[in-house]
Symmetry: C2
Subunit: 325 residues, 2 copies
C-alpha cells in the first residue's frame, strides 16, 4: 500500500481523500492542517488530523504528500518546502508561473532525492496531455481549448467581493458556434468573446442596487469585460438548491492535416459533476507514479508530460498490455 498524506482540507483535499479511499493500492495516513487539528473533523473514520508542524516527524510514515493548497499563495511556498522531505504532488495552475515553480520545486526535490509532480489535474493536466499528444502526432494543425459548462470559483469569488452581493455562482460556457467552427477544421482565429460566455447567478443583499451590481460585474476588467455576460438575480434558497455543485469540464479540440485531402479532428472531452473530486482523483493517480519513479531512484520535478502512462495505473504492466492495449 502506498501511504498518502493530505496537506489542506478544502474542496480539493476532500476530493483527494475520496480518491485515496477508492484506490486499491493506497491508504490515507493523515490529513495535515495549519489550523488547530482539534477543530477539523474529516470524513474518513479512524484517520487522524495532524498539524503541519508534525510533518517533519513523519517523513518515514508517508510515501507521498499530496498538497492541496491554492496556487496564488500556498503552493509557491508549500511545494518547494515539503519536496525536500517528501515525494509530493500539487495542482499548481498559474500557467504563466509554471516554469519558475518547476525550477524551484525541482531544486528542492533533487536535494532531498524525492520526486515532485507539479501542475497535475485536468487543466493543467489531462488537457495538457491532449494538446501534447495531438500536436506531436500532427505537427501541421492547431489546438483549441474550451472550458465549461462549469463553475469558475475565481469568477464567483470576484462577484462576491462586489458591494451589495450576498452570494454568487458563475458559469463559464463555450459558444456553440465556436465549437462548430473549430470542429469543421477551418482553424478559425477566435477572440476571447467568441469562445466563451459567462452566466452569473447572484444573490443581492436586501435593498441593494441590482442595476449597479449588474453593471459592475459586466464591466469588471479581466474577469468579465471581454465576455458577453448574463446576470440573473435569484434568492439564496434558489442558489443553494440549484447551484450548490461544482461541475466543470470542457474540450481540447485539435484539427490537423496529413495531406490536402486528409484532415483529422482529435478531441478530448470531460464532463465532470465535481471539479474538486475529479482533480483529486488525478492527483491520486500521480501520487502512484511519484511513488514508483522515486522507488526507481528518480528525483526532481516532473509534470504529467514526463510520466509514462503505465505508472499512473494500479494494474501491472503485463495486465495493462493484455487488458487495455
Amino acid at each position: 500500500m502506498i501511504r498518502i498524506g493530505i496537506l489542506g482540507y478544502g474542496n480539493l483535499g476532500k476530493g483527494v481523500e475520496k480518491a485515496v479511499n477508492a484506490a486499491s493500492d493506497q491508504e490515507l495516513v493523515g490529513v495535515f492542517t495549519r489550523r488547530d487539528p482539534a477543530t477539523l473533523k474529516i470524513a474518513t473514520e479512524g484517520v487522524k488530523v495532524y498539524s503541519t508542524d508534525d510533518l517533519s516527524n513523519m517523513t518515514d510514515a508517508i510515501d507521498v504528500l499530496i498538497i492541496c493548497g491554492g496556487s496564488a499563495t500556498d503552493l509557491p511556498v508549500q511545494t518547494p518546502t515539503y519536496a525536500k522531505e517528501f515525494n509530493v504532488v500539487d495542482s499548481f495552475d498559474t500557467h504563466a508561473k509554471i516554469p519558475q515553480h518547476y525550477e524551484k520545486v525541482g531544486s528542492a526535490a533533487s536535494s532531498g532525492n524525492k520526486i515532485a509532480v507539479i501542475s497535475a489535474g485536468w487543466d493543467p493536466g489531462l488537457f495538457s496531455l491532449g494538446r501534447c499528444y495531438f500536436s506531436s502526432i500532427l505537427p501541421e494543425g492547431a489546438d483549441y481549448t474550451f472550458w465549461g459548462r462549469g463553475v469558475s470559483q475565481g469568477h464567483s469569488d470576484a462577484i462576491r467581493r462586489i458591494e451589495g452581493v450576498l452570494d454568487a455562482r458563475q458559469y463559464t460556457i463555450p459558444v456553440p458556434d465556436a465549437l462548430e467552427a473549430v470542429r469543421s477544421g477551418s482553424r478559425p482565429t477566435l477572440t476571447t468573446r467568441q469562445k466563451h460566455t459567462r452566466e452569473c447567478f447572484v444573490v443581492a443583499k436586501e435593498g441593494a442596487d441590482k442595476d449597479r451590481i449588474e453593471e459592475e460585474i459586466k464591466s469588471m476588467p479581466n474577469y468579465f469585460a471581454d465576455y458577453d455576460t448574463t446576470v440573473h438575480f435569484i434568492t439564496k434558497e434558489e442558489l443553494d438548491r440549484d447551484h450548490s455543485g461544482l461541475p466543470h469540464g470542457g474540450s481540447v479540440i485539435y484539427t490537423g492535416k496529413t495531406s490536402d485531402n486528409a484532415s483529422h479532428t482529435l478531441e478530448l472531452n470531460l464532463k465532470l459533476d465535481s471539479n474538486p473530486e475529479f482533480t483529486g482523483s488525478v492527483l491520486c493517480a500521480c501520487a502512484r507514479a511519484a511513488y514508483r519513479m522515486n522507488k526507481e531512484g528518480q528525483k526532481g520535478a516532473r509534470t504529467m508530460f514526463d510520466i509514462p502512462p503505465a505508472y499512473l495505473s494500479p494494474l501491472e504492466a503485463d495486465e495493462l498490455r493484455a487488458k487495455l492495449l
Copy 2:
C-alpha cells in the same frame, strides 16, 4: 535530424512517408521492399528504394526503422528480426497476440541494445492511452470503445472473396442509441449487435446473383453474422467516386464516479479522413520517442503505455511546459 527507414510501402508505408516529411526533426533515408526495388516508385524526390537485403549494411545509416507490414504474417517475423539491429516501431494490432509479440520483440531488442515500440497507432495506441488514463484516474467506472464511421479493410476484403463480387467497401458504424446510453453514465451492458452496425457497398460481377451475395455477406460468421448489416449494390464508377477514401475514427468513452452525487464522463474522439496517414503519423511520433529512449541507453520492447508523452513531441521539455501545460 532523426534518420528514418520505412519497411514496406503499402498504404501505411505511404502514410509514414508523409509524416516523416512533415516532421521538423526527421529525414527519410530510404524505403525498403521485399520486391525488386526497381519496380517501386515512391513519392519523395531524391530518396532511394532499397531491397530489404540491403538493411544489414545500413545499420549505421538509420536511427529508427518503421515497419509497415501486416499483423497477420509480416510483423510477427519482421519486428523480432529487425529489432536486433535497429530501433523499430510497428503497429501490431492482433490484440490477443500482443503479449506474445511483446515478449519475442523484447528479447530481440534487448539482445541488440535497441528499443522496439510495438502496437503503435490509434487502436491499439491512442485509444489504449485513453483507456489507461481514464481508468487510472477513476477506478470505479467502465470504458467503452466505439469504432467508426469508418472503412474496415478486413471486412471489405472478406466481401471481395465472395463469388460474384468485383469490389466492395465496408463501413463500421456506431449505434447512436448505444453512444447515448454510454454517455448517460448508466454503464449499460451492450451486445456486439447493439454497439455497431455494418454497411456494405458492393460491386457485383455482371450476371451475378445479388440475393445470394447479400445472404452470404449477412450470414458470414465473425465478420457479419453478429451485426445488423445493410448491403447496397452500386456500380464500379460509384464505388470509385464515393468510396475511394479510407476514413475511420471512433470514441473511447469512460464513465465513472467519485461519490454518489458525482459522475464523470471522459471521452476521446477521433475523426480521421485517412486511417493510414493518421496511423503513420502516430508511428512517426513513436519513432522520435524510440530514438530518444535508446540514446539514453534504454533497450527492450515498449508500448505507448511506457512512453512519457514529452518524448513524442518535437518540442524541448521547457517549451512544452511553457506552451502546452
